[in-house]
């Protein structure tokens, strides 16, 4: 126990705390706490009235227990009683308890408010302050309602003590922040502004916080504060370090007040009154001059306080952005800090310079520090400082230094911290595009980016390089050559394969003259990567192959052979299989002319905002640099001359409506159309690259961002129909499988593809229109939120919807899906059960016989076991049985049970909240399957 125990030390409390500290284990601690809680409870309930000291002591113990992280459910009343004590220390503990453990119990709130009201009108300044602190600490709406009218009166009353005024100002600020509608300044405004003239510096400091917050909301009403703030600031800045006595902090006069005044001025434009402005500029100059003076103390507190004012002054100079002289001086000052030995100052200087770089007056001055900043990027030991350096490089980049900066950023990327790589990649990609003088440099940069940090190159980045290559014919040959060389590397990133496949498929002919990159060599190179790639990339490569057949007839036989191989034409992935089948057919049926038309080079992309820029905008952060400025730059950028295209969803949609693209067509609705005459047009390749924005084919990885922002369809004024009678039967079909046709009638077919991992699932729903007539007002409603689907489904076409599913806890009812649309004039409504059952979240668990039985024995409680005996409707075929059990999602454990007729399975169900025992439900589900 420490020796210090001033005045009113509570011995019992100290003993209790030291007991807790001596507890060896968590259990011992809990035991000790429970003992204490029982003791306190009996004391509170006892017949004997407790004296103030005991009450205070016990309330304080409860508070300590709460702060240790335990729940407290009594003692509030005793704490409230303490509020009305006349002893300061007792009142103080009462208020502390109340402000830490606010209880929304309305009765208690009334009592608390009553006590506060008494203290506020007590005219005892210490009690008034305690009451105001409590209001500020709790800051609840109820308190705002009770006191928002009273506090301004206290604040401006002539006879209020200074200390109470300070508390009142800050308390009012807190209430204004939580309930601005309840704090009406109206008549008080000018008197509050004039607190800036108060004799007492503490009152001024407190009032400024309040005024700053209020002026942000109503600048006009408070604008008289500007001239008052300037004269106050001027008096402080010009005072000697000893003038302000109490308010001098390590030889710096009133640093808090100065910072706040400078912050308040940033709520307004530069003063219009010439005299006021002159005075302010003088202040700012003095602050900059003082930074050059030798320090009055070696203490870090001195330099921190001084520099806090300096940085705030620089913020104001940047905010005004109208005094070239001050801006350049600020920049030079920050330049000195860039090499300061204090890490904190280097960090702040980099951060502050970032905003200076966007001012036209100081941009050039910032640029002179490029070497220092690059050096910081390379040598700083603290990642947060390096991040600032990278941000500043990005901000100071322009055409003159782009090559240097981009190459430095690229080399930094090789060992950059994982947390910032993605943002760095985006920045490099944007700078390369914005300041590209020649396109070969741009292509080199992006390919380097993929090589160095392929995992962090988002789709937007590689879409963009393809858009630009397609739109600029002077770079196509170079791009083909470079990407061909890049693909030679033994291990290259999948994104490189994507870019390579796309570019060679379009422009491989431009380098085919060289025997080292003859058509067959190109094809073999691409195909050597094929088996290492994911499904979407393979699909893209298949499209590149069919393009090859058109570009180089001599490769036809080889490619057809590849397409014909079992691994393609019988691929278990329906998308790949379909492409293989269709492309094979296309290449053998269509004449050269037809092929040439169908597989024509991609048309240029229409001009649009760069998709990567849009992505960076979404990532906010100080490094994101004023975006408007960037866009202005972009408009002048040379690359845009060639068209700044993104995928145009309208053209895509129209082409998809007539010819559903392969990636959208999973139900085979197109089989009605003759394959030869409706080949996948150029749009299919487009879909490969831009599948996310294609309106009819929002396939895998649909961006979740718009998920909640776009309102769910509101057409359902009629109540959704009850689920179809056969819905349960349909549901049972999907217990052991994930893909297939969920529902079909004369009009509509609904297909499902789904995948599950742990407690997460993703389901694709395909709505196919089987008729030749359009479905209007097509909408789907799930009893959970969904992303809306396209409202129109053309005859013969198909739309897709993606659902992301998370299993939060054990459930028994499948979600209901209601589909409504107009066919002809009639409203159709279908309600189905979505095949989401608890077993979908099974994780198969492999375990040996020994482990299995050990686990089995642990499950001893009755609710942990379920048994169901049922009659099989079908014969017992071993293979079918196994397939079904595996389909259920469990692992089939062989050799666990000595009897081969018995099947043993194991799996763990993952839910977000906990892993649950759901044995009974599983039994029921399984029973239906046989």
């Amino acid at each position: 126990m420490p020796a210090v125990s001033k005045g009113d030390g509570m011995r019992g409390l100290a003993v209790f705390i030291s007991d807790i500290r001596n507890c060896k284990s968590k259990e011992a601690e809990i035991k000790r706490i429970n003992k204490e809680l029982a003791n306190i409870r009996s004391k509170f309930k006892g017949d004997k009235a407790l004296d103030g000291y005991s009450k205070k002591k016990y309330v304080c113990k409860l508070l300590f227990i709460f702060l240790l992280g335990h729940d407290i459910d009594f003692g509030h009343m005793e704490a409230v009683n303490l509020l009305s004590s006349n002893k300061y220390t007792e009142k103080q503990i009462g208020y502390l308890f109340i402000s830490v453990l606010v209880n929304s119990n309305s009765e208690l709130i009334r009592l608390i408010n009553n006590a506060i009201k008494n203290d506020l009108s007590s005219r005892n300044p210490t009690f008034m302050c305690l009451a105001l602190h409590c209001i500020a600490n709790v800051g609840s709406r109820e308190m705002a309602e009770a006191f928002a009218g009273e506090i301004p009166r206290i604040l401006v009353a002539g006879d209020t003590m200074d200390s109470v005024k300070q508390s009142a100002a800050l308390c009012l600020l807190r209430l204004y922040k939580t309930s601005p509608d309840l704090v009406l300044m109206g008549e008080w405004t000018s008197r509050v502004v004039h607190l800036l003239n108060d004799q007492h510096m503490g009152v001024v400091t407190a009032a400024i916080s309040l005024i700053t917050c209020l002026s942000q909301k109503n600048p006009d009403e408070f604008k008289t504060c500007v001239s008052l703030a300037v004269s106050r600031l001027s008096r402080i800045v010009s005072s000697a370090s000893t003038d302000l006595q109490d308010y001098t902090y390590y030889f710096v006069p009133a640093p808090w007040l100065s910072c706040k005044l400078l912050r308040l001025l940033q709520c307004y434009p530069p003063p219009e009154d010439g005299a006021v402005k002159g005075r302010l500029v003088e202040c700012l100059e003095t602050i900059l001059n003082k930074a050059q003076e030798p320090p009055k103390s070696k203490k870090v507190q001195h330099s921190n306080a001084k520099n806090a004012i300096l940085f705030e002054a620089i913020s104001l100079i940047i905010h005004y952005d109208s005094e070239p002289n001050l801006l350049v001086r600020a920049c030079n000052q920050l330049g000195q800090f860039l090499q300061h030995r204090e890490t904190n100052l280097r960090y702040l200087a980099l951060e502050s310079m970032c905003t200076l770089a966007s001012s036209e007056f100081s941009h050039e001055a910032v640029k002179t520090h490029i070497e220092t900043v690059i050096n910081a990027l390379k040598t700083e030991r603290d990642v947060s400082v390096r991040q600032r350096a990278a941000d500043l490089l990005y901000a100071m980049c322009d055409r003159s230094n782009a090559k240097q900066i981009v190459s430095e950023m690229l080399s930094y990327l090789e060992n950059a911290d994982y947390s910032i790589r993605e943002e760095m990649v985006l920045k490099v990609a944007i700078l390369a595009e914005k300041y590209a003088v020649d396109y070969s440099w741009y292509v080199d940069t992006i390919l380097n980016l993929i090589r160095i940090a392929g995992d962090y190159v988002s789709e937007e980045v590689w879409y963009r390089v393809i858009q630009i290559v397609i739109n600029r014919d002077d770079v196509q040959g170079y791009a083909a050559k470079t990407v061909f060389e890049a693909l030679q590397a033994p291990a290259c990133h999948e994104n490189m394969v994507k870019v390579g496949g796309y570019i060679l498929g379009e422009f491989g002919n431009l380098i085919a003259g060289d025997p080292r990159s003859s058509p067959l060599v190109q094809f073999n190179l691409l195909h050597s990567k094929f088996h290492l790639c994911s499904v979407p990339t393979r699909a893209l490569l298949l499209s590149a192959y069919i393009k090859f057949i058109n570009l180089f007839p001599e490769t036809k036989a080889t490619i057809q052979e590849v397409l014909r191989s079992d691994s393609q034409i019988r691929n278990s992935d329906v998308e790949l299989q379909q492409r293989a089948v269709e492309y094979l057919k296309l290449s053998s049926i269509a004449s050269t002319d037809v092929l040439a038309t169908v597989l024509e080079e991609m048309p240029p992309f229409p001009e649009r905002e760069s998709s990567i820029l849009a992505k960076l905008k979404k990532k906010k952060g100080p490094g994101a640099v004023p975006v408007t400025e960037l866009e202005d730059g972009k408009r002048e950028g040379e690359l845009n001359g060639g068209g700044d295209g993104g995928p145009d969803s309208s053209t895509l949609a129209s082409s998809n409506a007539s010819t559903p693209s392969p990636s959208a067509d999973l139900l085979g609705l197109r089989s009605s159309a003759p394959i030869g005459s409706a080949p996948p047009s150029a749009a299919s390749l487009l879909v490969d690259v831009f599948s996310e924005s294609g309106s009819a084919a929002p396939s895998a990885g649909v961006n979740d961002d718009g998920f909640l922002s776009s309102a769910s369809p509101s057409t359902a004024s009629e109540d959704p129909a009850p689920p179809l009678p056969e819905a349960d039967e349909l549901l049972n079909k999907f217990v052991c499988k994930n893909n297939g046709v969920l529902f079909e009638n004369q009009l509509l077919q609904i297909g499902i593809k789904s995948e599950y991992r742990q407690n997460l699932g993703r389901m694709y729903l395909f709505y196919g229109n089987k008729t030749s007539v359009q479905f209007a007002s097509f909408s789907t409603t799930l009893n959970v939120q969904t992303k809306p689907v396209e409202p129109l489904v053309e005859g013969g076409a198909q739309v897709q919807q993606v659902l992301n599913i998370e299993c939060i806890t054990d459930f028994s009812e499948a979600p209901l899906l209601n589909i409504q649309f107009r066919y002809g004039g009639a409203l159709q409504s279908i309600t189905l059960k979505l095949p989401v059952t608890i077993n979908k979240f099974f994780q198969p668990t492999e375990m040996a016989s020994h482990d299995f039985f050990q686990r089995w024995k642990q499950l001893s409680q009755p609710q942990q076991e379920a048994q169901k005996i049922f009659k099989a409707n079908h014969g017992m075929d071993t293979e079918v049985l196994k397939a079904k059990l595996l389909g259920l999602g469990t692992a089939l454990l062989e050799n666990v049970d000595p009897n081969p007729e018995n099947y043993v399975c194991a799996g763990v169900i993952q839910t977000k909240s906990q892993q649950d025992t759901v044995s009974k439900r599983l039994c029921d589900l399984l029973a239906e399957q046989f």
Binding site: L67, S167, L173, T205, A206, Q301, R381, D382, G621
Partner: protein
């Protein structure tokens, strides 16, 4: 200022003061995350970091870390001095303050903080103590 935390080198919270309404669960999560982040940093690193959408300013005094979360427009250096000022006040009251003083007199540590900061803003130099 949004909140202030004091914690030991072992990651034990010694004092927490919240100036924004947050549920108990959120508070616990924030303190846990932040304590971990800061304890993982090396001594010579800078005292500021970006964390979610807040700026964190922290400083270590002996075995205790003092950590404040401030908003984007707030001044980092002056926040550092708010921390220092609070440490000075504790020191003055306890006479060369140590972690044990704050453990055993936690209520005093809260009172001193309340006297000094109101709603997350410095109020004055407290004279009268308890």
């Amino acid at each position: 200022m949004q909140f202030m935390l004091l914690f030991s080198r072992q990651g034990k919270l010694r004092l927490q003061k919240w100036y924004v309404p947050l549920s108990d669960k959120e508070r616990k999560k924030i303190s846990r995350d932040l304590v971990q982040t800061i304890l993982a940093r090396k001594p010579k690193m800078c005292s500021f970091l970006e964390w979610r959408d807040l700026k964190i300013v922290y400083k270590r005094y002996a075995s205790l870390y003092f950590c404040c979360a401030v908003e984007d427009q707030d001044n980092e250096l002056i926040t550092l001095e708010i921390i220092h000022r609070y440490v000075e006040l504790l020191d003055k009251y306890f006479g060369s303050v140590c972690e044990l003083d704050i453990i055993f007199n936690f209520e005093k540590a809260y009172f001193i903080l309340d006297e000094f900061l109101l709603g997350g803003r410095p109020r004055r130099r407290p004279r009268r103590m308890c």
